[in-house]
């Protein structure tokens, strides 16, 4: 039985933490993987720190949480402390270095720094695509996920938005590719 790949992602409310995790889990399911996702939901929907958990594999457990992560993603400085306990030997660490400046707590995991906030703002002139950049980086690090099929899944998720604004599709795809290439 192949080990299940465990992902924790954490950031500020409004950064799209839940959407990223949900889309990754859904896309994995669409690709025939077993997947489960659970939010760490609380009353702090706005202005607080939020976490999400996803597991992907061949046989996914019914229990949605875990103690240690294989992929650990922090989108903000506060997130680093919040999910620090999920690190283990060999955890892959990805940070949004636009907001995570102090790496001292996680230095020994040699974090992959993605300056997603800056890239979104300066290269794409659309701050909101920052999470597409992060998603690209994450997907690169998840074993067994097919990139093209993942992008097709994205098109499916955002179909109604793309219908309204077709230029968004190109933008999202490019941002995703950018992140994928950086990780």
């Amino acid at each position: 039985m192949q080990e299940t790949f465990k992902i924790v992602i954490c950031g500020e409310g409004g950064q799209g933490v839940q959407s990223i995790a949900k889309i990754i889990a859904q896309a994995a399911f669409d690709q025939g993987k077993k997947a489960v996702y659970v939010p760490y939901f609380s009353t702090e929907k706005r202005g607080g720190v939020t976490e999400a958990f996803a597991q992907i594999g061949e046989a996914v457990p019914a229990y949605p949480k875990f103690a240690k992560a294989d992929l650990w993603v922090a989108l903000s400085q506060r997130a680093v402390e919040r999910i620090h306990g999920y690190l283990k030997e060999g955890t892959e660490v990805v940070v949004n270095s636009y907001l995570v400046k102090d790496l001292s707590l996680i230095a020994r995991w040699k974090p992959i720094e993605i300056d997603a906030g800056r890239i979104a703002k300066e290269e794409f002139r659309k701050p909101r695509v920052f999470n597409m950049v992060m998603m690209g980086a994450m997907v690169k690090r998840i074993p067994g996920l097919d990139k093209d099929r993942f992008e097709a899944a994205l098109d499916h998720v955002f179909a109604s938005k793309y219908a309204k604004d077709p230029s968004l599709k190109e933008l999202n795809r490019n941002a995703f590719e950018k992140g994928y290439g950086l990780a």
Binding site: K22, A25, Q26, F29, D30, K34, A35, V36, Y37, V38, P39, Y40, F41, S42, T43, V60, P61, A62, Y63, P64, K65, F66, A67, K68
Partner: protein, 374 residues
Amino acid sequence: MREKQFLMGNEVLARAARAAGATGMYGYPITPGSEVLLWWAKEAGSEQGKKDGLVFLQAEDEIGASFMLSGAALAGTKAFTVTAGPGNVLMQDAFSMCEAMRIPIVAYINQRGGPSTSTVIYSQSEVTLTAFGGNGNGYRVVYAPSDLQELYDYGIKAFNTAWKYRFPTFVLADGYQAKMMGEVEIYDPHDRGIVMASTERYLLEEKRDRPIDQVVPKPEVHIRVQDGVEYSCYRNCLNLEEETLQVNMEIKDAWDKAAPEIEEHETYGDDRAETLIVAFGIVGAASKQAVDQLGGKARLFRPITLRPFPSAALKKAVKGAKRIIVPESAIAQLSRLVKETLYGVTDAPMIEHHRPSIGINVDEIVDLVRKHHV
């Protein structure tokens, strides 16, 4: 119709009610259950929903919602609600009435942190409230699903149990199950040969399959015929101790007959394993994985009905166990039921792992078993 979908637990519950033929949802928003209301509101307003006469009512509070639910069941409809924590406390008022008059309501409970408002997240600490929350000696059925598929299966079954046996019936889930997304097989129960129990009105029924005083305790129902029409009057305020005794004993007799048919449990793992884990719900799911990882050291007994508690099966399962471990996200709510069942049955020591209102991971259970394994 068979399809595997990637769905959130709350949507699974809502779809289960729809598949079971429920027509009315009476609720009040509360985390972690609100998505059930959202789904039902949308469904009720859809073309098909209107055609099927679906009712959605967002009440003034949980008290209102639960009594509307009772009224809808009295009107002979399959109706349900969803609630959690403080809402579960408020609804006990109506649930108690449903116990007294054998009103077949269905309630999905998504346990959240406690006591009081606490967290909106998760716990297993509404076992006592959900199973024994009424005043007096009421009886009710409580199913405790352990994963998304069981949310669907028992979400459907609850309606059948409620209407077949005429006891208020609960599906006791939790915030994790409510909010997690995963794979579920959505099916039409008819395609699986599941026969759905028929319903009957308590008020304004023209033709009954069975006399209503064989359901509602006799001192509570007064039937008269005028001009060939039967009129039923129900009360739950009784004057005499003797009447109350009779009501209690009639309900108990019905329960004693039904309970053996309703009880459900699951055993998992090598039955020679020394350690017996007793866990329910999502901790039961985690325990199952722990059993896999422990390679023969432990086995699992998982009560699926917390009421009626599968006592005979647990007594059987405990044979040969050197120790019993009870992990639960509560303080002594499950373990109290286990102790009550096993009193005088076994000498095996019981290790109670109480983690109120916080999740219990697979690794934690594995460590626990290893620590006590000698």
